[in-house]
């Protein structure tokens, strides 16, 4: 098939996988209460609020996702170099990454809860056992998609008929890069919905959460005592898809402007070496225009919020 059409097809597949990956990354960090909102879960016993949350404190999301995705990438790469078909190698790699994930999750929860002995926070075994499988499954989806993206990108040229277009980085390195990026994005966008909205759900909507509320998280749910399983069902309705859309848009813009630059600069389909600089310039100009459009979008949203919501009412 014609290389340009194949390139666009693989690019769209990568965008789709990226959307799913980041959505599940955010949901997994809500299932395990990782990163920034976890500081509230850590603070709660210290202000006297014993809770039944899963305190998974494995650093921020960026390094931990880098770890799972890199392990998955390395195992997949090792299997691929032995001739195993990608459709077996990629899921097996993701599974090994998730086994490591679950090990880290248990040591984090046990370690943090034991270190809060003086605040009378017990280890609830049903919280510990009951959350390991949701954490593993959500993480598996994210890791699988990221490993697949890394595989497609490192073999993009071979898959579409132009071997020179393979990305110069090795597969594990690509998995590492996207693991860090997906963790950084999930931490910046999705955690807001979990931290500001769901963790303090019995506080008034429409204002920032004041410092005096910190630590006094909502521990009683619609029926009974809240655990992470109640939280993830809420955040999947807004925070998760928004986060997925973020990463999907980023991958879309990045790959699209590179491909359009290649086509408009006559680099494809013959890979003329002299057209290299023009390709890069077109890509840069497109990227700058996209960024300016985003800035204008932000100005519009902030202005709309100020006009519609108005100044702060109350004390």
């Amino acid at each position: 098939m014609e290389p340009i059409a194949m390139l666009f097809a693989w690019m769209l597949l990568i965008v789709f996988l990226a959307l799913i990956a980041c959505m599940f990354e955010d949901l997994e960090s809500d299932t395990g209460s990782q990163s920034n909102p976890n500081s509230q879960v850590q603070l709660a016993p210290q202000v006297g609020q014993v809770h039944r949350f899963f305190n998974k404190a494995i650093s921020g999301e960026a390094p931990s996702y880098a770890m799972y995705c890199t392990i998955a990438g390395v195992i997949a790469w090792v299997l691929l170099s032995k001739g195993v078909h990608p459709i077996m190698a990629i899921p097996v790699g993701a599974m090994v990454g998730e086994v490591v994930h679950v090990i880290f999750a248990t040591t984090a929860h046990l370690g943090r809860t034991t270190a809060q002995k003086r605040f009378e926070q017990p280890i609830y075994l049903d919280v510990l056992y009951g959350h390991l499988l949701p954490i593993a499954t959500h993480g598996f989806m994210a890791t699988l998609c990221i490993t697949a993206i890394a595989y497609i990108q490192s073999n993009l040229g071979t898959l579409s008929g132009l071997p020179e277009l393979n990305h110069p980085f090795a597969l594990p390195m690509l998995a590492f890069i996207w693991g860090i990026t997906v963790g950084a994005i999930g931490s910046s966008t999705g955690d807001i919905h979990y931290g500001t909205e769901r963790e303090f759900q019995d506080r008034p909507f429409g204002e920032g959460k004041r410092v005096v509320y910190h630590g006094k998280i909502t521990r009683y749910a619609e029926c009974g005592i809240r655990t992470q399983k109640d939280i993830v069902g809420f955040c999947v309705k807004y925070g998760g898809p928004c986060t997925g859309l973020t990463f999907g848009l980023i991958i879309l813009f990045e790959n699209w402007r590179t491909l359009v630059g290649m086509i408009a600069g006559n680099y494809l389909p013959d890979l003329q070496a002299t057209a290299g600089n023009m390709t890069a310039i077109i890509g840069i100009v497109l990227g700058l225009m996209i960024g300016i459009a985003l800035t204008v979008g932000n100005v519009v949203i902030v202005r709309w919020a100020r006009k519609r919501y108005g100044p702060f009412v109350g004390e």
């Binding site: 980085f169 931490s187 966008t189 959460k209 902030v302």
Partner: protein, 231 residues
Amino acid sequence: MDPVLLIIVCVIIGGVLASLGVHLLPVGGAPAAMGTATGIATGTVMLMFGAAMCGLFTASTVATFSNSILLVSLSGAVGSWIMMGVTMLMANIIYVFGTGIVPVSGRIDVDPITKESQKEYKTPQCDGHGVPNVSYISGMVGALLGGFGGAFMYFALLNYANFEPTTAGMAAMGIFVANAIIAAYNIGGTIEGFHDPKFKRLPKALITCFVISLFCGVLVWLAANLGGLIK
């Protein structure tokens, strides 16, 4: 120019731009995830690292068909710029529609760029919330500089020290992250952008990162020389 000087100068420029970029990013840390502080709700180092990695990805693709250091670095810069732009915009969408908050800054009374007043929209007992326009623009410029620095270092290691792409990427990333962490120590973890009073501590971090990058550049040149990579 002599490869020694080229490599060292490029590493220094990359490291200093990294630390400048870190100072410009609006980072709120853990309180921002609870709507208590302005900025993006993640750690300084990780956000800068993520943006630079995204830029490095595009820059390495461009480096396969372009030999101009300026174009490769600009591609990396624009990659980071897009990533920060989309991330901050979606964060604002979640703040505005998901939690009902108006993005305002907590450190100044009037936005220096759009001249909107900030004080009456702020929740009491909070240090601002969301990503207001001035923090947005500051973040975009910060990501631009950070991505430029990372891609600059990558190109130098790739073409002047003759490392292979993955090696050059990892070494550039190692030096980049060391500079970003030292800059993060300087700001103490959270900053709102160039309008924040903490921004005045920038020169100290620049000097420290200059010295550290100088050493790292010399060491990288030494390694490449002893390993026989520079002919």
